[in-house]
Amino acid sequence: MSHGAQIGGSIRRRLVLQLLVVAAILSGLLYFTVRSVADQAVEATQDSILGSAAIAIAEELRGGDEALVIDIPYAAFSMLGAVGEDRVFYRILADDRTETGYADLPLPQRPLSGLSAIYYSASYDDADLRLAAVERSVLVAGANVRVVVVVGQTRTAKQAIVGRMANRAAALGLGFFAIAAALAVLTARSVLAPLANLAEAVGRRGPQDLRPVTRPVPLELVPFVAALNGFIGRLGVALSRTETFIAEAAHHIRTPLATVRAQAEIALRQAGDDRIRATLRSVIRAVDDSARSAGQLLDHATVVYRSDQRADEDIDLGALVEAVLRSFAPTAELKDIALTADRPEQPVKVWGDRLLIESALRNLVDNAIKYSPPDTEVTVELREAKLRAILRVLDRGRGLAGMDASGLTGRFKRGANVEDVIGSGLGLTIVREVARAQRGTFKISQRKGGGTCAELSIPLR
């Protein structure tokens, strides 16, 4: 999948991670907000009940001619039991003297108002208290008496409620986080889907397909696709330039060599001196060698180029064999070599590049004729076996003298058995490249009863 691409992080992972971080922060915020709102709400509730209790007591204060009358209403304390089971404390002072209740109950630090209760927190008898205090003026025996009513309550119920709310808030936060996490994964997937689609579309293209990418892509991918299209364009130009270059190079090398050979032959025909004739013969031979080398080099280059830029098609190997043999018929005839095909009647179809396969077969047939003495037989055998097409080129020539394919298929590798036979050592290299490009195999071995057996196998269509 990665085709050698270096992996440097993952957009999806980063995206999911960042979304998760955001979700976690939001969940935390949610938790603390709910908690603090609950805390305030519950405190406000407790305050209002404490305030009502204190006011209810203050309302029942009576003045008179003799003494201050304090008559705590039952409901004042009873209502404090409504929220939860908290301990209740109270203190009533007249002109700063405790009249009844808990004489050491802390008083508020702030000045009191006659109209509404003020609220404060304090610690009393090892407990945290919330307290409400109100002040009233009462006329007793003609004098104004300042009465302060303080009602306090422990905060167990409040803490219990806030604790419960906090638990619920935590559950809420966790739930929120879980949903956000799932959404983050889905979001990352859907955000990255166009990228995956693009990659798939580009990956699915044939090797020859150098058209620009035209499918619509999201805005953010436009620069990438534009760059890709630019790159494809340059690649196409470079490839066609290479193709032309190879073709031109072949032409540019072969044409002068042909001229030199023609001149050398003319000179040979005219020359009388044996030494000069011998020299001219070796010139012609060297030119042949060079022409052969140039041809093979260009063939090799073409094969390598085509391996990357294959034009695969349906090929009937039977027809291909016939065509190649036909083209070699004159050469074989010169050496009185019987060139025959042994193939099934029905077509043997493979999916491949015709030029490549033909090039391989030509080199094998060329070798078989080249390294065989006159008056022998060369057979091209075509077989179908186990989903493969097998091409064998068999001769009764000099054989391989114990050499094997690994030694002979290397570039410019020629056997020790070549004697004066012209060659560049690239033929089997080309065959090997073709076998590799067509996902086939190649082997060459000694043939039973003398000669060589070269075998190329290609998967059937």
């Binding site: 008559d71 209403p73 304390f77 009873s78 404090l80 039991g81 301990r87 009844t100």
Partner: protein, 342 residues
Amino acid sequence: MRGIVHTLALILAGQLAQAVEIEDRAEFGDPEAGRVLSVLSTTDAVVFSPLVEAFLAGRPDLRVTYTVASSQDVYDAVLSREGGFDLVISSAMDLQMKLANDGFASAHVSPATQALPQWARWRDHLFAIAQEPVVVIVSTRGLAGLPEPHTRSDLVNLLRDNPERFSGKVGTYDPAVSGSGYLFATQDARQSDSYWRLAEVMGTLSPRLYGTSGAMISDIQTGRLILAYNVLGSYAQALLEPGGDGRVIELEDFTHVLLRTALIDRDGDEPELAGEFLDYLLSDEGQTLIETRAGLPRINEQALRAGPHLRPIRLDPGLLVYVDPLKRQRFLNEWAAAVTRR
């Protein structure tokens, strides 16, 4: 019966809290036993002995000291902080509530206390062990010819219309003397206005005032009383002779249900033991014994639901109001003005 019961009537116990006037004291279990659970209670030792003995069965390492005192003395004993008591059982809900509120009880959490209905406990400090309706008892012979009252207004009418019959023949608690009486009177007063009318009417009949339910019941049986108002129903059921003259009436406008409550004294030496005994009292076995042997109705929500007129006195801070000394004085003055016409 392994327990040896010593009855020491009216002893000023020197080694115990000075302020406590002990009415009765009973010892249960092996006197040599290492651990002692000390119970302070307003309930008679005879009533509680089956429970204590059942609790002690199979625990030879334990003995129980059971001290009986009036509810005010029970309250004062805990308030003095001199220790000596582990479990405090009292019928004066208001005083128990005051003790729990002011931090004299230690918390106790157990499956048994958790199983109590919400109205039968306050925090993890105060627990109801029995629920007892507060009833009216009449003598059928004394009432002869008159209709049985079913509500407080019936009662007011009955008493008002027959002053010669009821004069000197009506009894109720003296709230100044009896803690339970004070609780019943204050709860009545806050529940309905008809209570003060009733008090006024009773006041015209020179009522007899009592310190205990038992005394009222026996006076009904001897014929000294025709009607007793605010009597603990459980005692009435237990003490009235079957087929006798006394009849128990639960008033239908409302009948208070007293919760007999227990708390663990913070200054006690054996809080764990106290917790174990408390759990035993609340256990099914303990509750069954409370009902069958002690004759106190067990905590039973079903029974309350079946009687819509039954109103359990709520264990809430409201109870603290009448414990306030100013409020108490005011109430007693008012009550005296209405009833005793002094």
